[in-house]
């Protein structure tokens, strides 16, 4: 029987949740026995090559590419999980949500003292993703099946959730796993 397949992506996040996934120490060897990775920065597979059982999403959506990736995950994954504060609530990137995007762009590319005075343009190459008016949590864009809280969620929390999902156990996040203070 083939192993369950996992895919991961980091959208508007800091890769901290992926680091936390790697922080499962020697259990990573067990994980490799247990599952196969498909599209993920961990194995650098860029596109989906087969149906995926569990998709793990780090980060919210701050630009059009994030939305595209998230939607493709929803299409290709049976179960989709928001991992960490940014995916669930927008997190730090969402601190810009109170400021109109034009002001953000003008501050960064036109008015900031570090901008080259000869080159004051807001990036407009058509290959660049288009920035969204604000940062959206994943569940406002696609249906999300599970949420793993934390910034980042601890390695133990991710381990418990991922193994439960691939083994078909109900997700039981005990108090010590989701207590952060």
């Amino acid at each position: 029987m083939s192993k369950p397949v996992i895919a991961t992506a980091s959208l508007a996040g800091c890769f901290g949740c992926h680091m936390s996934l790697l922080d499962i120490d020697e259990r990573i060897l067990g994980l490799i026995d247990l599952v196969e990775f498909n599209k993920s920065p961990i194995d650098d597979i860029k596109t989906f090559t087969k149906p995926v059982d569990v998709g793990l999403i780090e980060g919210g959506c701050c630009n059009s590419e994030n939305v595209e990736v998230l939607r493709s995950f929803r299409k290709n994954c049976k179960v989709l999980v928001s991992v960490g504060e940014c995916a669930i609530m927008g997190g730090l990137p969402a601190m810009r949500n109170g400021i109109p995007i034009r002001e953000c762009l003008e501050e960064a590319y036109l008015n900031s003292p570090s901008v080259d005075p000869e080159d004051r343009t807001i990036p407009n190459d058509e290959d660049l993703p288009i920035i969204l008016d604000k940062v959206y949590p994943c569940h406002e864009v696609v249906k999300i099946d599970h949420f793993l809280p934390g910034c980042p969620p601890s390695a133990d929390l991710i381990w418990e959730a991922v193994t439960a999902l691939v083994e078909g156990r109900p997700l039981q996040l005990t108090y010590d796993l989701i207590k952060f203070d």
């Binding site: 630009n63 939305v67 807001i122 008016d133 959206y136």
Partner: protein
Amino acid sequence: MAQEKDIVLRYPKDPSALLDVVRDVQNRLGHVSEEAVSRIAAHLKLSEAEVRGAVTFYHFFSLTPRGASTVYLNDSITSRMKGRTAVARAFEEEAGCRFGEVSPDGKVGLFPTSCIGMNDQEPSAIVDGVVFIKLSPDRARAIVRGLRAGTPASGQVTEFGDGANQSTLVRAMVSNNIRKRGPVLFGPHEPGAAVRKAVSMTPEQVIDEVKKAGLLGRGGAGFPTGLKWEFCRREKAPERYVVCNADEGEPGTFKDRVVLTELPGLLFEGMAVAGYAVGAQTGILYLRSEYAYLRARLEAVLAGLRKEGILGKNIAGSPGFHFDIVIKSGAGAYICGEESALLESAEGKRGEPRDRPPFPVQAGYLDRPTTVNNVETLATAARIVVEGAAWFKAMGTPKSAGTKLLSVSGDCARPGVYEVEYGLSIAELLDMAGAPEAKAVQVGGPSGTCVSKAGYQRKICFSDLPTGGSVIVFGPDRDIFEVVENFMEFFIEESCGWCTPCRAGNVLLKKKFEKVAQGKGTEGDLRDLEAWGKLVKATSRCGLGQTSPNPILTTMQNFPELYEARIQKGRDFVPEFDLAAAIQEGCAAANRQPACKEADHE
């Protein structure tokens, strides 16, 4: 600026003077400037953050100018039902600015505010402390023109309301609208009789009489008043306090305003009786800022009672019983109706609720044992002492004795105050108020229950439909979703922000509710609303968060068909997100053509 300095230096170097100084500065300068913040902080030995924290906490204080004259237009649902939108537009057009702003000439500022206790005469506004009722767009324009031409708001009051609203010390347009006078509060009362009767008994006997009468707190929570007094009396302390909660802020309640207008003597007697019972020498009337127009008269009534020996030293001929009352003002904050938040505010701080225990009866005002009672409760207690427990107990239902003042407003022919016996059904009340076609009745304000026709046989009493007094009637054409949205906005505005479930949860609840209201909801969204609502209620520390999801939860329960009709059945998920709209601003800023292939991802 020397002006700030002059004002600040008049006050004692005592942190508890904070709100008084801030109010003075706000009233004289129209805002609390940076200069004022530094001076107040230095004078009272507080940090600037503490001063700023207090200023920004209350509706009627501001760090930025609010105009030479300031209009606070009530934003309650009833105000909207009675034509607020057109009135607001008239104010904006005449002033030349939007709500939340000051006119370009600096003469008029326009600001929305939560219910100001005039729900039976909406739309209403407070302009420089003067209450204007039943506003029309024409009147709104005339007010602004008058202010610009130099006629103060007080000079624009043309007609006065009924009863004591006409007194020279009030002269308000406000009407009492007393529709039904019951035997308890509006029964015949000989001034001074309650205090004289009380001092002829022992304090224990007074407490016992109130306990036997079965008097439960009239503010809404329904705690037994006698028991509260007994707990307070039992605490060993050199000083105890009686605090009267005159901060009725629940949208739709205004019955305490009528008691304060028509029966202040009875209320003050009730406070003195409570003082005698618990062993306190000082009473504090915490008067909501919206009712500041009554203050001069209340002070005059107090002076009169002192002259008659009902307040002061050795009162009512009882050597050794001293009791007097001071008035403290709020500054616009619903949460200050919660007793521990009220105490914080009375001590001159931000009105944030305290942790309990200790309860106020153990450590209340200035950490002394304090009994905090509602206006109506204290006035009722005075009557019980005179007429006896048996008289009182004979009215109402076995578990909800006596009568209750109801503030009825909304779509009915006879809005106003009704003193009714507990046990009255909603149908009977609607009959009295003249609302045969009511589609829904909000009992107990936003924090209470929205009752549908199926529940009109339910009774107003503590075991069925408890209420602090607010009853808002919605006619057949009203949109219940608009009502719910207004109530949720109110709670978001009024949350003190301490507990995350209340601060963030109410915002998330409203967002989710709006998704459903816009027809983008699913059954999953309804499940979320219910689960999140329960979570906010269970994990907030005071009554605000413990009841704020009620507009959503009680309408889901009593009007399930409305929700069923709005959701998309059979669909697992409907996104609120719209990519084309979300990229519009970014494209415009970067001068790019939107090139999103939305269809590719579906």
